[in-house]
């Protein structure tokens, strides 16, 4: 399936915690079954991502959609399936601890590795933005069966952004991503100044890298210590302003590109 034949669709949920990737339509199996039974051939595949309805215009929070997209890439290219088969089951994957893995931890480690991959996938495009969101929604959260501790996730993303590849899990992710996708995990964003946001105007984005980077610029603006917009207009208004300007910067980029093609 050519890479342009995937369509990302989002559905809105009433739950405030419902950021998720639904894998049911990303695999070929369901399409093959339909084709066999009904002779209907699909030229496109759907990538289904759910987000809370309440946050539909909250672009600072919606950076986690990059993380959810990372789960799709992982599943599609079987990155962690390979790692778990090759490394975890034979207990050769060094992880946070030097102690040998117990049987009961294997599934947990598998889930955790998936989360780390999705975090790193997102960090390629939006830097440490998911760290900011994690700090809001899961500050100091301990590890669970499905998710690593927040502090571990933040450290691994920061190590990646600072090009510290000493952690065993990062090395393994790098190696397997390159092997399975023929693409390297790398920084794909650029640094944009926050001037346009301060002047209340949307950016004129010039390319895909700048398009992804607008979220980083938004977060940078929002977290600025002496933010005059927050001081003058209050946090609620400033939050609305930055989200609106992110939305308009993106839609202007899409419209202008379509117009010029």
């Amino acid at each position: 399936m050519p890479k342009n034949n995937f369509i990302v669709v989002t559905s809105l949920s009433a739950s405030l915690e419902s950021y998720s990737f639904n894998p049911s339509l990303s695999d070929d199996l369901i399409y093959k079954l339909i084709e066999n039974d009904y002779a209907i051939k699909f030229n496109y595949r759907l990538i289904q991502i759910t987000l809370p309805r309440y946050f539909v215009h909250d672009y600072l929070s919606n950076v986690v959609l990059y993380h959810e997209l990372g789960h799709f890439i992982d599943l599609k290219f079987k990155i962690f399936e390979t790692i778990i088969v090759n490394k975890i089951i034979d207990k050769t994957l060094p992880y946070y601890t030097k102690e040998p893995l117990k049987e009961g931890h294997i599934i947990q480690r598998y889930y955790h590795c998936m989360e780390h991959f999705a975090d790193l996938f997102a960090a390629q495009y939006i830097g440490d933005c998911t760290n900011h969101v994690l700090n809001y929604i899961a500050f100091n959260a301990r590890e669970s069966q499905t998710h690593p501790a927040t502090s571990t996730r933040i450290k691994i993303v920061n190590d990646f952004l600072n090009k510290k590849y000493s952690d065993a899990i990062i090395s393994e992710i790098f190696k397997e991503t390159k092997s399975r996708t023929s693409q390297q995990l790398e920084i794909r964003f650029v640094d944009l100044p926050t001037d346009d946001f301060k002047n209340f105007v949307p950016y004129e984005l010039r390319n895909i890298s700048e398009l992804h980077s607008i979220f980083i610029t938004g977060w940078k603006f929002w977290k600025e210590e002496k933010n005059e917009v927050i001081q003058k207009h209050g946090r609620d208004n400033a939050y609305k302003v930055v989200n609106n300007l992110i939305e308009k910067s993106i839609s202007n980029y899409i419209v202008t590109n379509s117009w010029n093609k």
């Binding site: 105007v201 004129e204 939305e247 419209v255 117009w259």
Partner: protein, 199 residues
């Protein structure tokens, strides 16, 4: 002072007037700038409630419950049904200089279809310009999103003003928003007066 095309272009070039995106330079005409129909819409709905009540501060249903949000892609059609109020906005995001205001009207080609608008945008405003459109024709009218439906005339004042000298309800809006009339500050004063008389 009424600004003509060359003066508008000078303001754009100097960065004092911002219009993004300006898809075609020809949008800036001799006397006005053509503005396009944006992608987001709020449609008025007829529901179980008898009225949109912006007189009742405490018990009214929010105005948003009387509108449905929808979005179209540029190039798609949008249907304006007879007598249905549609809130939409210009595709262009505009930031006006502090001494220039804007007067918005329909382009005559669209007025002739039964749509009308007349609106003033204050100096210093920033955002997509809100349009409240009602099709007064008795036939539905379908319009392509991205069409040049409105025209903005620009007027320069002798003295600059400060747009933010009072608290603003709509800052940097990029899509239509429902009325926030219920948040007007005089509402509380009027409420107190009413309660005083009713005692």
């Amino acid at each position: 002072m009424y600004l003509v095309g060359t003066q508008i272009n000078e303001l754009i070039k100097s960065g004092e007037l911002i219009i993004r995106p300006l898809l075609q330079p020809e949008q800036v005409g001799e006397l006005a700038v053509d503005l396009r129909l944006g992608t987001d819409f709020l449609l008025s709905l007829q529901g179980r409630h008898s009225a949109i009540d912006v007189s009742n501060y405490y018990n009214a249903n929010p105005s948003s419950s009387f509108f449905q949000e929808t979005r179209r892609l540029v190039g798609e059609g949008f249907l304006f049904h007879p007598l249905q109020t549609v809130l939409c906005s210009t595709l262009e995001y505009i930031k006006l200089p502090n001494d220039v205001f804007l007067s918005l009207t329909m382009r005559s080609s669209y007025s002739r279809l039964g749509l009308s608008i007349s609106s003033i945008v204050q100096p210093g405003y920033c955002g997509c310009v809100s349009m409240e459109l009602t099709n007064v024709n008795n036939t539905p009218v379908k319009i392509t999103v991205g069409s040049r439906i409105a025209q903005a005339r620009f007027f320069q004042l002798e003295k600059a003003t400060d747009y933010f000298h009072t608290e603003r309800k709509y800052i940097c809006q990029v899509r239509p928003e429902v009325s926030l009339a219920i948040n007007d500050t005089e509402r509380e004063i009027l409420e107190k007066i009413k309660n005083k008389f009713l005692k």
